[in-house]
Subunit: 490 residues, 2 copies
């Protein structure tokens, strides 16, 4: 495909951009195959906004000719009005930012809108920007390899955490002798193991009718099943949509805010994930037994729980490299279907299909850990924010496709750069390290009391002035600490 | 009065103390006229708990003899059970701590409970502990004087903020020529002034029937009245009680927590106070006019609003001395009835009379400012926590009585020590200063969006392990910053 066939208007002059945290500005808008570029034409400044089209979740357009209601365009210059029409495009990004463009000329506006609509949701992975992005300070050879393919987690005590999909016992209670022997071998010499099923007992019974199922007590002797129902899929996506809507509510009504926050159920999902991960970690770390975690496919909640449990237990996972390695192993290589799950974020009106913010929920849970143990994690909050953006739209190939198999078929590893390697470059490492990091060998058990969990404001409210202000202050404190730390070393 | 007549049992051995954040311990309990003292008898440690009886808000007692249900006393040793009876006293403190004492011997338990009940709510101010407290490193001569009696706040622009009670116009629309002339003189040379009334328009009409009233437009030409209804008295006290009850809810239900938090309305009161103070500051700082603030008595909400507005506008009020001076001027000297308002906190079942946590609401609002502007205030969060305890029960005389007049009559200034002076001693100053303080001349305008305000967890959840853990970490960070700061200076 030629991108150019989707770009009828590539440049528009005299566009007004309104974006959060900045005063409105006027300049030139340019659309390319993968980017929207706005260049400020104010004297003395050359501010640019470069936005990956892939980051755009939804747009709204309104065009008005001069005879119509023009109040909405009161900021537009007189000359544009005289040309007979103009339009406004509201751009809602997957990173939750909302921009507005006032574009002179109805046709130009419609062309731009059409280009954005088409180019922001290309289906063909090999046409996506990571296949075109060529940074000068990274090389393609140095790809991946943060983690050895060690699907399971081994401890000194020779305990393991395993992940899997559900056993396909079906309605006829089929058995798989090899699977039974494998699980038996895992707990050999021990009295038992735990299976944490992320579905309710009712759900697993229903799953049997569809060919799925669970490990029956009689066939998997020594394994104890625990059910902890976790929402995923549509329920989680709707929770995110409601939360973002609540965060954008500009009324000054405190009751309404708290009621909407409750109604979104997002914090309940955070709580369930952290407490299930805590349960898994307890089985292994405190109770001294191996554990298997699965739901139905083993590509969503199982990853979430096993990742969090490892962060709780294993100090190696809490360094910057360790955490990125953990994500590579437990999410990228384990086959979380990023492309399906992150096709849209909170604004799209597209009919929900496979979208689900499971990875975002992970980041939120990690943030709660980070907030409760500010010294125990080697990475900064900025890393979590960066990952939350990159997973939806990225220059890098890391989160492309739905599995390693798909990535291999498209040559993603050979043709795109790796985000995790990029984040470990010295310049980036400074930004994404925690200057207060003090490694501890101990497990970090998070409190999951409702009173202990908090809205991740720097993500969900990141485009509001009050959050930005706080971020600037945190940045200043961070810099102070780094400077003082350097002095202390000299 | 002799305190001894209320103390039938002064010492009990073999008492078990259960308190938050500590393992249970066994030791000796001692009751004096003003204190409860528990001395741990564990080997190698000599932990003591010294509690001002005045800090006790409510107690619950349950006594059981051996024939009755003894499950509750399962931790009690065998010998106590054999003596036939024992009892448990649950002590709920005004600083929100809850302690339990298991006391062998029913009679001893009832004696102790009776002593606590009587001595914790002595009416006679001159029998209270501040009249007996004699620190060695403070002297009585060095009393008060942080602020000159300058009731009003003057700016370089010659604008003032005034506080008053309501004008007593009554149903007959009485006038007071002197008052009208005074207010006219204030805005002389300016086009207008603002009156912020902390009651609704409906409330001020009703107040007229009771002899109170408001400044009519015709008599107070040039003054514009703005009504911002603020809750005080019983409504505020009930809000606190509900909030503390929600914070103590130990269910793991996120929805229930958020719903109870909303239902308490405490955060709404915080929001109203901050936004009304913001309005007052806008009238003066942005609009350039003088302002008068009052409700009915001028001893509660008016003080709250005028204090917060000064913190917003005036950098001098943001230093440690400045803030304590502000409290002395705007609360102690202005006649906030501390004794009535802080007689009980959130646990007492006593019929509410004059209790109202207006000063606590102030501290919460200041904390919100502190959180939003972590560099702009010269004092630490620890100061706010300390004040929140001291206002309910203190070694110092600062918050005794209901007015300066009452304090003079009892010789409080001559016979008790001043908390504010104590907080400014070099050792204390280190604890209560903000190591990140960077003075700014600018006004600090707080965001009052519901999304920007937060529960003051380190106060309301201070006795939970997760909050204490975070506090310890904050303390560690604070020490790091102080140490590094010293290095940077060398």
């Amino acid at each position: 495909m030629e991108f150019s066939e989707h770009i009828k208007t590539a440049n528009v002059e005299d566009v007004e951009l309104r974006q959060p945290l900045h005063p409105p500005s006027r300049g030139t808008l340019c659309i390319t195959g993968h980017h929207l570029l706005f260049s400020d034409r104010e004297e003395g400044s050359s501010r640019q906004v470069l936005l990956l089209l892939r980051n755009i979740d939804a747009i709204e357009k309104s065009v008005e000719n001069l005879l119509g209601y023009t109040g909405f365009f009161s900021n537009a210059g007189h000359s544009e009005r005289m040309s007979g029409s103009s339009g406004t495009i509201t751009i809602k990004c997957k990173d939750l930012r909302v921009l507005q463009l006032d574009i002179p000329g109805m046709e130009q506006c419609l062309n731009i809108a059409h280009s954005i609509e088409t180019l922001s949701c290309l289906d063909n992975v090999s046409e996506m920007y990571p296949f075109f992005y060529r940074p000068t300070d990274l090389n393609l050879q140095n790809h991946r390899g943060l983690s050895a393919m060690e699907t399971y987690y081994g401890q000194t005590k020779e305990l393991v955490i395993m992940r899997s999909s559900q056993p396909l016992t079906g309605a006829n209670r089929k058995r798989c002798k090899e699977d039974e022997l494998l699980l038996q071998a895992v707990i050999d010499g021990s009295d038992k193991g735990y299976i944490i099923d992320t579905r309710s007992s009712q759900q697993v019974q229903q799953a049997r009718m569809m060919g799925g199922g669970f490990e029956s007590k009689s066939c998997y002797d020594g394994w104890k099943r625990l059910h902890r129902q976790m929402e995923k899929g549509k329920a989680l996506q709707e929770s995110l949509i409601k939360l973002v809507e609540a965060c954008r509510d500009e009324s000054h009504n405190m009751d309404r805010w708290l009621s909407k926050l409750e109604n979104s159920k997002w914090l309940s999902h955070v709580q369930t994930a952290l407490s299930t991960a805590g349960l898994l970690a307890e089985c292994v770390e405190r109770d001294g037994h191996s554990a298997l975690v699965h739901g139905s496919e083993g590509t969503d909640c199982s990853l979430l729980i096993s990742t969090l449990a490892q962060l709780i237990m294993d100090p190696c996972c809490r360094t910057l490299e360790g955490f990125l390695g953990l994500l590579e192993r437990e999410w990228v290589e384990a086959g979380h279907p990023f492309q399906q799950r992150c096709a849209h974020s909170a604004y799209s009106h597209a009919r929900l299909q496979q979208e689900s913010p499971v990875f975002l929920l992970l980041l939120d849970c990690v943030w709660q850990l980070w907030r409760q143990f500010p010294l125990a994690l080697g990475f900064s909050e900025a890393l979590l924010l960066r990952l939350a953006t990159e997973v939806y739209a990225s220059d890098y190939g890391t989160f492309l496709c739905n599995s390693d198999q798909e990535r291999s078929a498209l040559g993603v590893k050979e043709k795109t750069y790796c985000l995790f390697q990029a984040l470990l470059r010295p310049t980036e490492r400074d930004i994404y390290s925690n200057p207060l990091y003090e490694p501890t060998e101990l497990a970090i058990w998070p409190s999951v009391h409702p009173q202990s969990l908090q809205l991740w404001k720097s993500f969900f409210l990141r485009w509001t002035p009050q959050t930005r202000h706080l971020e600037e202050v945190q940045e200043e404190i961070r810099n102070m600490v780094i400077e003082w730390g350097k002095l202390a070393l000299n």
